[in-house]
Each structure stands twice: as structure tokens, then as C-alpha cells.
Assembly symmetry: C2
Homo-oligomer: 240 residues x 2
């Protein structure tokens, strides 16, 4: 009876952590969506809102960390549950960073809207953001469902995000070369694109954490890339 009580209380601790992560995930997705929307529509009010919204994720991360430590100290969990709790700490860290990246995009809206930029650049950024957000949503669904069915798509989509980022990078450089008046705004757009590419990386980190939580194993490494470090291409300049 006592044991059952402990088990139930423990389950509710783990559920609490999972529900905080789910809420943080939804919040982070919304911030990134709105930051890109603010950028594309030159909506300074929306940009300001996104900047303010970031505090929620900072607070969420602190809560998850503190709760996790209390749960470990109180329940003395065994390996499986311990992985679950350590996983929550890691994922909340990634989501907090996604929020920072969204906030950083929002902060750049003013600088970008000072000059008119070609519509195609914004379309490119929107498409990149859509891909990164799909990645994030799917990874968070995987965390919620603990189903590994779709986990193999994660690396492929990360490669797509990197390829799309590289193409946008080239396009932005071209605009800068065409007219020096584009340089300042395009530089900020370059950082926005980079931020979105990084959001994809954080989604991939989360997928790796979920894999570890569920299986107890490290996710199989990426297919080894050909060693091109002496002839570095733009393609190689995404972080990893």
C-alpha cells in the first residue's frame, strides 16, 4: 500500500515534468512562428511580444531543473526513471535555447525593416522556419508518445534544413554583392537564417535525448560524412 502510494506520487512527478516540457515546447514553437511572422510582415508590436515571451521559457527551465532535483533527491530513482528525469533537464535546456533564438530573430525585425528586401528572401526564410518547426513539433510528439517510429526521419530532415540554409546563405550573399545598401539588412537576415538552422539542431538534440530516454542507448551516429575539411564548402559551415 505504502509502495503503491510512492509509485503513484512518483508517476505524478514524472507526469508533471513531461507536462512542463510539453508546455515549454508549445511556447517555443509559437515564439519562433511569431518571430518569423513579425519579420516577414514588419510587425514591430509582434516582435516586441516575442521578446517579452522569452521570460516564460527561462522560468520553465528553472522550474524543470528544480523539480528534477527534488524528485531525484526524494525518490532515489533507478536507472530508467533517472534517464527520464535527466532527459527532462536536457530537453528543457534545448527548448530554452530555441526561445533565445526566436527572441534574437524578433530583435532583428527593426534593423531588417529599415530597408525594403526582396520578397523571395522572406519566402526562403519562411520555408526554412516551416521545416525547422515541423522538425521540432514531430520531435516533441515523439517525446509525448515515446514512439520511435518516426525517429529515423530526424536526421534526413536535419540534412534538408542544412541544405535549405546553405541555399539561402548564397542568395543573401548575392543580394549583398548586388547592392551595398542591402548589406546591413541581409546580414541580419543571415543571422536569422542561422538561428533557424540552429533550431533544427536543437530539435535533433531533443530527438537524441528522447531516444536515450526510451532505449537507454545513444542514438546511432550520423552517416559519416566524406572528409572534406581541406576543401571546405559552404555546406560544411553548419554547426555540428
Amino acid at each position: 500500500m505504502q509502495t503503491q502510494h510512492i509509485v503513484r506520487a512518483y508517476d505524478s512527478d514524472l507526469k508533471y515534468l513531461a507536462s512542463r516540457i510539453a508546455a515549454m515546447g508549445g511556447h517555443a514553437e509559437r515564439m519562433v512562428e511569431q518571430a518569423v511572422q513579425a519579420l516577414v510582415t514588419s510587425d514591430l508590436g509582434l516582435a516586441k511580444k516575442v521578446v517579452e515571451d522569452d521570460a516564460v521559457l527561462d522560468e520553465g527551465q528553472r522550474e524543470v531543473d528544480e523539480k528534477a532535483i527534488v524528485v531525484i533527491a526524494k525518490r532515489q530513482p533507478m536507472a530508467d526513471d533517472l534517464r527520464e528525469i535527466i532527459g527532462a533537464i536536457r530537453i528543457s535546456g534545448d527548448l530554452e535555447r530555441v526561445g533565445d533564438l526566436g527572441k534574437n530573430i524578433a530583435k532583428r525585425v527593426v534593423a531588417v525593416t529599415e530597408t525594403q528586401q526582396p520578397l523571395s528572401l522572406f519566402r526562403g526564410l519562411e520555408a526554412l522556419a516551416e521545416l525547422a518547426l515541423t522538425q521540432l513539433k514531430e520531435v516533441l510528439d515523439t517525446y509525448a508518445s515515446r514512439s520511435m517510429d518516426r525517429i529515423s526521419f530526424v536526421r534526413d530532415r536535419d540534412d534538408q534544413i542544412d541544405a535549405m540554409y546553405t541555399s539561402l546563405f548564397r542568395e543573401l550573399l548575392t543580394y549583398m554583392m548586388e547592392d551595398p545598401r542591402n548589406i546591413t539588412a541581409c546580414t541580419h537576415l543571415l543571422f536569422c537564417a542561422k538561428n533557424i538552422e540552429r533550431i533544427g539542431d536543437h530539435a535533433t538534440n531533443i530527438a537524441e535525448t528522447v531516444y536515450y530516454v526510451v532505449t537507454g542507448q545513444q542514438m546511432p551516429p550520423e552517416r559519416p560524412k566524406e572528409d572534406k575539411s581541406h576543401k571546405v564548402m559552404l555546406e560544411d559551415l553548419v554547426d555540428d
Copy 2:
């Protein structure tokens, strides 16, 4: 006798974690130093070495994570020691990212050396890297000594790093506007500068973790900045 034995074994676990972190820290510092050196001296061989060296930090992080989980599961630590272990997990995560950022600088060496860039830009990058590395070294010393004496310098130096980054950012934009042939190389230098600024942020993260490990409290927040989100300056475009 049995308790003493457990305590000693436990101490040696914590010491193992601290020594792995110290080794990761030294490795990360060296990678960043050498990446910047490779950039400034156009040393492609050194750049290649830095790229390869990153695997050591990935492995270090995995080791720390796995050891931490084993220690928690086996020793069932109380709050103080638990903070110590969770702290090790966080710090190794920051150091792994510092390595990624160093690697990313090294990968850009080829693209930057394709065109000749003014010496002053490299001097600026070196100075920025020196400041960020001083921050990282001091923070890792604080972790090793557990002395909070110098922790108050961390936020001030982070502000200095941000200010120096902003000034370098402006200088790079100016060179790009002066001559479109500089755009590609200067864009890569912009990302290098940004990476170094981020290394400073990771050092600050580590300081916050050390503060938390030692005191059990969150480090007092930054002095609140004036709300300028509607008139965003370049100064605001550093991540936080």
C-alpha cells in the same frame, strides 16, 4: 567502516567527474585558441586538426553523462552532492558546445583565406577571443577552486565581450560596404565573431552553474536593462 568506505568511493566518483570536466575545459580552450590562430595565420593544417579534435569533447560529454547517471543510481546522493553531479552534466554540455563553436571557426578558415583581409579585422577577432578565453579560464578556475571571490567579474566581462563583438560587427559591415569582394570572407568573419561571443555566453552559463553548485542558489540576475525593444540597437543583438 562501511560508511567511510562508501564516502571515500563517492568522493572519488565526484573527483573523477571534476577531473573529466577540467580536461574537457583545457581541451576546449586549446581548440578555440588554435582555431583563431589558424584563421589569423591562414593555417589550413591547424584548422583541420581543430576540426578533428572536436570528437574528444563529444566523447567527454558522453562519459560525464554516463558516469553521472551511474553515480546517482548507485550512491543515491543527497541534495548537495546531487547539485554537484547535475552541475557536471550541465558544464560538460557547455564545454561540448564551446568545442563545436571552435570547430565551426576552424571550418571557415578556407573560405576566409581565399581573399586578403585587413590585418585590423584579425586583431579585433584575436582580442575578442582573448577576452572570451580569459572568461572561460577564470570560470573553470572557479569551478576547480569552488571560490566565489571572482564570480562578480563574470557579468562585467560578458558585457565587455558583447561590446567588443558589436564594434567588430560594425567594422565588418563597413568593409563589406566598401568593397563587395570582401562580402563572402567578411560574412564568415562575422560568424566567427558571433561564435566567439557565444563562447563568452557559455562561460557565463558555467559561472551560473558553479554558483548554483556551491551555494544552492540561482546566481543573482543581470542588472535589468532599459527596455529598448522598440528601438533595437546592434548592442541588443547579442543572444541572451
